[in-house]
Amino acid sequence: MNNPQLDADGRLRHLLSIEGLPKRILNQILDTAESFVGVAEREVKKVPLLRGKTVCNLFFENSTRTRTTFEIAAKRLSADVISLNVNTSSQSKGETILDTVDNLIAMHADMFVVRHSQSGAAHFIAKHVPDHIHVINAGDGRHSHPTQGLLDMFTIRKYKPDLHNLRVAIVGDVLHSRVARSEIHALTTLGVPEVRVIAPKTLLPTQVEKLGVHVFHDMKTGLKDVDVVMMLRLQNERMNGAMLPSAQEYFKTYGLTQDKLNLAKPDAIVLHPGPMNRGVEIDSSVADGSQSVILPQVTYGIAVRMAVMAMLAGGQNSGSQAGSQA
């Protein structure tokens, strides 16, 4: 099956999921992001790379945070940005997804950043857009959130440059988490030798070991000697009895407190994709503490998203160009 994310020359055409991307592309994104970190620290925080291009944030699922970071990233590349929040109530579907996309293409959008509540939505849209349009998945159902996975890897690389010697633990609702899936694929593809998931059985997907992770149900054993702790957000719906009895019980068994964190290596770092449920999956003292790299994640998130957009927008026509003098 042709990888829909890569073009015939093996270059990135869409960013839909970390799964299926070769290591060299992941590294290329991370290396490119390095350059963009510097841009944010300058007086003029812009580069002209995407000038004249229109980036459209197509959010079928609400999210102010993610949408804002993509907007900032696009603007720093000098792109024009349109943001569309499409309300999908079950009663009134209104326009179909493809109709919305087609209309935006007719208005000369060049790049779509898509978030949707259904797994596979980004793949679906990518399948139906013309060749010159690029799609970035900003989160589809439980399936994938590739820019989050990438910015998490960028952050880890900053603090723990030797990825080949790390133990990483992902804690929380893996079953419903697109962030977790993307993180797992990124970690394993980039060669992190030990990836753990820590969660009650009700919050783990069937056959999760097949993704290349070690399964733990107990924080105390799961966090032992770990270098990186990646916390996942617990959504309110899960706490209403069917999967978990209560937020209190969850915090007691799987919440990250300083005590539990002390079981990890003393220089272990803590990540969280945000927004945080303080007192549910993470204690405030840890979230605000010295081992937390949660705020840097946000900064790096913009650089990583700039890198992705830059890579997608550039170099798509270079094949034979004899005589072109740049």
Partner: protein, 425 residues
């Protein structure tokens, strides 16, 4: 009209015929095989050289979408699709709109179908009113109107007491119940098999246990009530084992498998191919192998097309939101032949699985070429390849996971009641 089908290789599993013979038809019936009856002068001759002549295929489940969902498909288009696929008799499930729980609706459907003079339609009546699983339908009346059995389509009865009573009532009159084994709470909102692929793709899964648990209930109640049960669209290795055991213990049960499940697994979903959004879901390689083995050893009695046409827009959505179903009537023969070839199963056995066996399950006089049987005949080229593309299909449902596949087994001529109703170009 007197017709002679010449030089064809006749395969009639019921009568153990598997050789080159001519077939003679008069007044809509088969009058002889091999030698012409005395004084027989054919007004039409069909040259079946290098072709297989077999009983018209009998399909256990084809959705015709009438009444109610005419934008998806109509009786005409789907019955044309049936005969283009060599299917001369088919059963249709009761999940139409309105539901087939009124004798009047059944009569109207049968009447309309009969007028078209295409494939014979045998409706399955709703087991409960509106398929809601609360109140039994008037099975006696529906039987009179022409239902050959009763079904809940894909909607499970959650109240075990109701299921028990329904089976008891049906058993009283010897009606056959066509049931889909799926525990509704475990299957709720599920769109794919609960396993490695669904976990990776972030799709809500339906565990194999959903089929096994429902099957266990059905088998137990069948044992107590003596109801005659047919399990529609088996999908798990566990399910095959359970039915094998039940048959060993003399339970009056039959079952079928969809042609799709003989060839596809969860991995075929690939990058969220909505054409693979099916019910029951495509499961693992192990399940697929077990289903094949079940067909070979007689645990599974028949293959069915599970024809479920959907309009194009309905599949143009993210996987979970895409409508369930695939077109199947025109693929049943070719997919069965493909399976038989792979498994080194004889052509005769394969054809039996889509004609004689299904006819027996439905309790209809079809699926064989006995003398005095209805001249419902399928003539096909087992070696001719054709490409499965929308333009090659007569059904309004163009969506199939096999889109683009080149496959062997082309229907050349189909006869119903001794008349040619389909001739390939």
């Amino acid at each position: 009209m007197k017709i002679q089908i010449k030089n064809g290789h006749v395969i009639d599993p019921k009568n153990n015929i598997d050789s080159q013979l001519d077939v003679f038809i008069a007044a809509g019936k088969i009058v002889a095989l091999g030698k012409a009856p005395e004084g027989f002068i054919a007004s039409q001759t069909i040259d079946a050289s290098n072709l297989i002549v077999c009983p018209g295929l009998v399909d256990l489940s084809a959705r015709l979408r009438e009444p109610g969902d005419e934008y998806k498909a109509t009786l005409i288009s789907e019955l044309q699709a049936a005969v283009a696929g060599g299917v001369t008799s088919l059963a249709c499930p009761p999940d139409t709109d309105p539901v087939l729980d009124e004798p009047g609706l059944v009569e109207m459907l049968k009447h309309r179908a009969k007028q078209l003079n295409l494939a014979h339609v045998y409706p399955l009546g709703a087991l409960t009113r509106q398929l809601q699983g609360k109140v039994l339908s008037e099975m006696g009346e529906l039987r009179e109107a022409g239902c050959v059995g009763f079904s809940q389509a894909n909607i499970a009865i959650t109240d075990t007491q109701v299921l028990w009573r329904a089976m008891e009532y049906a058993a009283t009159f010897g009606f056959t119940l066509f049931l889909h084994a799926e525990e509704p709470f475990l299957a709720k909102d599920g769109v794919a098999h609960d396993g490695e692929v669904a976990s990776r793709l972030g799709l809500k899964g339906i565990p194999s246990a959903a089929e096994a648990l429902a099957l266990a209930s059905i088998l137990r109640i069948a044992k107590e009530t003596g109801a005659r049960i047919h399990i529609s669209r088996l999908s798990t290795a566990e399910g095959v084992d359970m039915i094998r055991e039940a048959k060993k213990h003399g339970v009056n049960i039959t079952c079928d498998v969809s042609a799709n499940h003989l060839h596809l697994t969860e991995h075929d979903i690939g990058f969220f191919d909505a054409n693979c959004h099916l019910k029951p879901p495509l499961r693992t390689q192990r399940d697929k192998d077990a289903l094949g083995a079940g067909l070979k050893d007689g645990t599974i009695d028949a293959i069915c097309s599970d024809h479920t046409p959907v309009d194009d827009d309905a599949k143009l959505a993210p996987f979970a939101e895409a409508e369930v179903g695939a077109t199947g009537l025109e693929l049943l023969l070719a997919l069965t032949l493909k399976w038989a070839n792979q498994e080194k199963t004889s052509l005769a056995k394969a054809i039996a699985l889509i004609s004689q066996s299904s006819a027996k399950i439905l309790g209809i006089a079809a699926g064989d070429l006995s003398v005095n049987a209805n001249a419902d005949i399928c003539i096909f080229d087992a070696n001719e390849y054709w490409k499965i593309v929308p333009s090659a299909l007569k059904s309004q449902g163009k969506n199939t996971p096999f889109n683009g596949l080149e496959i062997a087994g082309k229907v050349k001529t189909t006869l119903i009641n001794g008349q040619v109703v389909y001739q390939s170009e």
